[in-house]
């Protein structure tokens, strides 16, 4: 990675050492250097160089402020399911090819108001349904660290943009691990906030009770500073929480001495790759050396998370994606009358994975199956949420686990849908319970990055960042070796 940190960029931009124009020009050069285009890593769905340069020139007035804006002059890539006014918002789908939103997501507005430069829209699994960024209508994204492998998904383009050193931070979205898993695969930091911590206004809905906007950072500090900007109450999202937002980067100043880290046994099964287990053990040791207490705990319903998730999420998706029918926006394919148009548009516009999930979701909500599948899954979801509540109520401050059961896998290696779903086995629980979680690099296996995951109680991001800063400092170069 070659990009400057947010902290440095902000300071240098404010003092005039570096101009926003220079930063943008540097990022564009990096796009070319790493071959981020369609025939290379395929990181961006849309990138408007001329617009970026014009936008950079218009950032002058922000420079005269006595206190520099939080993200002054910082280029931030945006996942393509987050609405922007200038670029199309396609969700990686043919059904929204060329679609330009008539409004802007709150998170994008907040980035701009903090002085950031929205830097293009990144590739993703179609409608965020996938764990590899192979399920995009615009082709797969490649992992910058190992181009024959996936970057993870569904926010693979955003993760790759940070890992390739193009931008220090990017926005992604999380429904079952779509920020943390690609962060782990690409050797960067990825944060999923508490459900309600960040506005979903302008995030194209996949599964509304699970979706959250998340952030990627090259470092913990880059992620913390970006999260602070986008978090907070938004009147346009009734589920956003009206709670104060701490300055997450201040968490770096706090010690973790005396705090308790839970080690949930269900995340360390006998089948876990011993090399990943060893990396986690080394991280536990670093946390212990920093004064934290390590405590063995149990979250007994963890193994049910994937069945629950793959009922709840497709059910909600089948409802949310009903709006894409050729009437109001996006693709229209003529058929026999109105119904024929609906069917031709949706079948022509959706890819195989989205179609499969709409079918599963519609099935589990249909008469005769609702109680056996959907209602049952929502009940088990209550049990999963209860597991977290009990552990945190017992005095555990955060949990630490592997982020994924494997490093990044080769492109095309997984064809069975359920095997792909198992990529989310350590991440989906946090979405189901609505608690915050983040992944950060803790070492490499066969030269590929491995992620360690912190999980905290609702709105416990500040404590979570304290641990992340401490572990990042303690591991040093070990995190990338």
């Amino acid at each position: 990675m070659s990009t400057s940190s947010i902290s440095d960029l902000r300071a240098h931009t404010h003092t005039g050492t570096v101009g926003v124009h220079d930063t943008v020009a540097g990022a564009l050069e990096r796009v070319k250097a790493v071959k981020a285009g369609r025939d290379g890593l395929n990181i961006f769905v849309s990138l408007d160089e001329k617009h970026l340069r014009t936008h950079a020139d218009a950032c002058g007035p922000l420079l005269s402020h006595a206190e520099p804006s939080s993200l002054l002059g910082v280029p931030v890539a945006i996942k393509d399911n987050i609405a922007t006014l200038h670029h199309p918002t396609t969700c990686g789908s043919r059904i929204l090819e060329g679609y330009r939103s008539p409004y802007e997501a709150t998170v994008v507005r907040r980035l701009r108001e903090a002085g950031a430069v929205p830097f293009g829209k990144t590739n993703m699994d179609e409608f965020a349904m996938g764990s590899s960024t192979e399920h995009s209508a615009y082709g797969p994204t490649r992992n910058p660290l190992a181009p024959d492998r996936v970057p993870g998904g569904s926010s693979g383009g955003s993760a790759a943009a940070v890992a390739a050193g193009i931008v220090p931070a990017a926005l992604g979205s999380e429904t079952g691990g779509s920020v943390r898993q690609p962060a782990a695969f690409c050797g960067i930091v990825g944060v999923k906030p508490t459900y309600g911590r960040v506005s979903r206004f302008g995030l194209v809905a996949f599964a509304s009770s699970l979706d959250q906007v998340g952030v990627f950072g090259a470092t913990v500090d880059d992620a913390a500073r970006t999260m602070h900007v986008i978090a907070g109450r938004d009147p346009l999202d009734s589920t956003s929480a009206d709670l104060p937002v701490p300055e997450y980067h201040r968490a770096s100043e706090r010690s973790i001495r005396g705090l308790v880290v839970g080690r949930p046994k269900e995340y360390f099964p006998e089948s876990l790759d011993p090399r990943i287990r060893a990396r986690c053990d080394a991280s536990f040791e670093k946390l212990r050396e920093n004064g934290a207490e390590i405590r063995d705990v149990s979250l007994p319903h963890t193994e049910l998370a994937i069945p629950v998730y793959y009922i709840v999420a497709p059910a909600e998706a089948s409802s949310n994606l009903a709006r894409f029918d050729g009437v109001r926006y996006g693709l229209r394919v003529q058929g026999d009358g109105l119904r024929g148009m609906y069917e031709a548009t949706r079948s022509g516009g959706f890819g195989a994975e989205v179609t499969r999930r709409i079918m599963i979701g519609t099935y589990v909500l249909s008469a005769g199956y609702y109680d056996a599948y959907y209602r049952k899954a929502q009940q088990v979801r209550t049990l999963i949420t209860g597991d977290f509540a009990k552990v945190f109520a017992s005095g555990v401050d955060v949990l630490f686990t592997p982020t994924t059961p494997t490093p990044a896998f080769p492109i095309g290696a997984i064809s069975d849908p359920y095997e792909m779903y198992l990529s989310d086995i350590f991440t989906a629980t946090a979405n189901l319970a609505g608690v915050p979680a983040m992944s950060q690099p803790i070492g490499r296996v066969d030269g590929l990055p491995i992620g360690g995951q912190f999980i905290a109680p609702h709105f416990g991001e500040d404590t979570m960042f304290s641990f992340a800063y401490a572990l990042e400092r303690a591991l040093g170069a070990e995190a990338w070796s």
């Binding site: 459900y195 031709a344 179609t355 099935y363």
Partner: protein, 102 residues
């Protein structure tokens, strides 16, 4: 609860998805494989357990029912497939044979 080809056709109709015979047959296999994994839930005792309603302590707050959330930066013509006089045009329904075709 094995999914049949008739189930797939019924669900596809509910979901407004047109499927080829080949795709429908593949989906029978795919859905049965996936749903077999979901059957693990049937063994869980959930007697007296409430189904989740909302995430965290916030419950399910609703926005007040007034007005559009924000002014649109571009009009309907900019993103809708077919419009006339500010209305969305759709193909005629089969029950409205005499209506003007869109």
């Amino acid at each position: 609860m094995a999914v049949t080809i008739d189930d797939v056709r019924h669900v596809a109709a509910l979901a407004r998805l047109g499927l080829s015979d080949e795709r429908a047959a593949a989906l029978v296999q795919e859905m049965n494989t996936i749903l077999a994994h979901m059957d693990a839930l049937s063994a869980v005792d959930t007697a007296g357990v409430d189904a989740v309603a909302g995430v965290g302590a916030g419950g399910l707050p609703v926005r007040s029912d007034k007005g559009p959330p924000i002014p649109l930066a571009r009009g309907l013509d900019a993103f809708a497939p077919s419009t006339r006089d500010g209305f969305l045009l759709v193909p005629r329904l089969s029950t409205h044979d005499t209506a003007e075709d869109a």
